[in-house]
């Protein structure tokens, strides 16, 4: 059984079926990129995996354990699965260091010094130690997003979900965030990314899934999807991306 098993997952918002039978397996240390037009269901799928949305049908299993439906402990699940959002969502009333140590202290019961030491080590990795005692509004978008990644990493997740994490950034700030994701990939972190950065997806992913109208229309290694896709829809989508100068 794969590390993450997604079987026939359905999700509706009112009358709109956003996910219509998603099938996906993710192995440990894989980096899976979800591509597809806006509204194709990429973000919703990620949000379903850590139960921020409740699915209407199907099953999600993480490490053999069912994490969808009734009788699951969402808080326990979320300790294993970290998510980083498009709009950072840092806590504006807390300093950077407190943003990072909040969950380790309150959820894992780590003591204050231990949590801070860990947070500082992580901040060092992303080059932000000097910002530790600043409030988030003093940071650039790229810096805020790096802090958000660190905040998720501080919980030692087994799986990281990255939901279009560079879409809200100015172009010159994208690289500093992607570099961190690249490092994580090379260290073997299991990740799922919803992204519009096709060049990055091509470079970093072990598997690319093309979502179209709530189903995974095509999946495969990046060379296959970006080089020789078998579906017309995928070709159309990639052509639009190329025409827009994004690949």
């Amino acid at each position: 059984m794969a590390f993450l098993e997604i079987n026939q997952v359905f999700k509706r918002f009112g009358h709109i079926e956003v996910l219509r039978g998603i099938e996906l397996q993710v192995e440990r240390h894989q980096v899976v990129c979800l591509i597809g037009a806006s509204g194709s269901g990429k973000s919703t799928l990620l949000r379903c995996i850590n139960a921020l949305e409740v699915i209407d049908g199907g099953e999600i299993r993480l490490d053999g354990d069912r994490v969808s439906g009734r009788g699951i402990d969402v808080d326990a699940l979320r300790q294993e699965v970290g998510i980083v959002f498009q709009s950072f969502n840092l806590f504006p009333h807390m300093r950077v260091i407190d943003n990072i140590t909040l969950a380790p202290r309150k959820v894992l019961g780590m003591n204050h010094d231990e949590a801070e030491a860990k947070a500082m080590a992580l901040l060092r990795r992303v080059g932000l130690t000097e910002k530790a005692t600043d409030y988030p509004d003093r940071l650039s978008g790229g810096q805020q997003q790096r802090v958000a990644i660190v905040r998720a990493l501080a919980m030692d997740p087994k799986l990281m979900l990255l939901d279009e994490i560079t879409s809200a950034l100015d172009p010159e700030l994208v690289a500093e965030v992607l570099n961190i994701v690249r490092d994580l990939a090379s260290e073997g972190m299991t990740m799922m990314l919803a992204t519009h950065e096709m060049g990055f997806a091509k470079e970093v992913s072990s598997k690319v899934c093309f979502l179209h109208q709530g189903v995974i229309l095509e999946e495969g290694p990046p060379e296959k999807i970006f080089g020789d896709p078998s579906e017309d829809r995928t070709r159309e989508f990639l052509k639009r991306i190329v025409d827009a100068g994004r690949l």
Binding site: N50, L52, V74, D75, A76, R78, Q79, V81, G82, I83, F85, S87, F88, N89, L90, F91, P92, H93, L102, A103, K106, V107, Y135, P136, D137, R151, A152, M155
Partner: protein, 310 residues
């Protein structure tokens, strides 16, 4: 618009500022006719400023003059009724009033702390999630609706006179001041819980999503993420309610607590002048204004430290 003539003429009702306004306006027009548009704009701007000074300063001067006139109207009877020298200069009257006012301050300070805690509790209960909490939510909603409907004075009567007469255990034998604090806390707790609720609901759901995705429980999310941000956001309306609470401490005089209003009434009865009421009003003014400014200062200082983010 360039010369602002109409405004300048109108502002002549207060000549010290109206005349400069008119002069600048005329000069602006001449310059405009000569084609010096830029200098004309400069004088137009000056005319406009003088006209506004005229409105502001003029209204103030005339208003003060009218008030002073009122004081001396009818052979100074207004002054005698509200500001009798014999009482204003009487140390023992002031002493008595200030002693009473100290009771108002105590009631206010204690009730404020009780209200802050109690109202937050009610707001959180009203926002509990899930169908199982529906009865609790309902209970909190009934309380808020009811106590926003009851006039504070009725609650003070019902609690302060009723509970001791009913001779209930525990709540039947409190001091008058404790009853009053209880009554005001009930009334203001309902208002303030609505302020808190609005603040909590104004926190974007993405903050909750971020907290929950880190594994924090609902309660932890409220405690560490939502409520701290909500409270910062509602400080100005809270402040408003607390000024209301401070004034409403005057209601306690109706159940015979010797507060500043009761004492003013005694002096009034003894000396036949409303001056003591003016003194009481002055005491409220002297406390409320610095209090307001202080809280505003606190708020500004915090805002400059952290701006609300996404």
């Amino acid at each position: 618009m360039l010369t602002y003539r109409a405004g300048a003429v109108a502002s002549l009702f207060f000549p010290p500022a109206g005349i400069p306004a008119l002069v600048h306006s005329i000069r602006a027009q001449r310059l405009a006719e000569k084609g010096d548009i830029e200098l004309a704009r400069e004088h137009g701007e000056k005319a406009r400023n003088w006209a506004w000074y005229s409105v502001g300063v003029g209204l103030t001067v005339y208003l003060v003059a009218a008030l002073v006139g009122l004081l001396f109207a009818n052979q100074g009877s207004v002054r005698v009724v509200y500001f009798a020298w014999s009482i204003l200069t009487d140390g023992s009257s002031w002493h008595s009033m200030i002693k009473g006012f100290w009771i108002n301050i105590q009631v206010f300070l204690i009730a404020e702390v009780v209200v802050l805690v109690w109202a937050l509790f009610v707001a959180v209960v009203r926002l509990l999630p899930g169908p199982a909490c529906r009865p609790l939510r309902f209970l909190a909603t009934v309380y808020v609706d009811a106590f926003r409907a009851f006039p504070a004075i009725l609650v003070v009567y019902i609690v302060g006179l009723g509970l001791p007469q009913a001779n209930l255990p525990l709540v039947g034998h409190l001091s008058d001041m404790q009853y009053v604090i209880f009554a005001l806390s009930l009334t203001y707790g309902a208002y303030v819980s609505e302020v808190y609720r609005a603040g909590i609901e104004s926190i974007h759901w993405s903050q909750v999503a971020a907290a929950r995705s880190l594994g924090l429980s609902y309660a932890q999310t409220m405690r560490f993420v939502v409520v701290p941000q909500a409270v910062r956001r509602v400080v100005p309306p809270l402040l408003n309610d607390f000024i209301g609470l401070q004034k409403d401490t005057a209601i306690i005089s109706v159940i015979g607590v010797l507060d500043v209003v009761s004492r003013a009434r005694f002096i009034n009865n003894a000396k036949g002048s409303l001056t003591a009421y003016s003194m009481a009003a002055l005491l409220f003014l002297v406390v409320t204004i610095p209090f307001t400014r202080w809280l505003e200062w606190l708020q500004n200082r915090r805002q400059s430290r952290t701006q609300g983010g996404r």
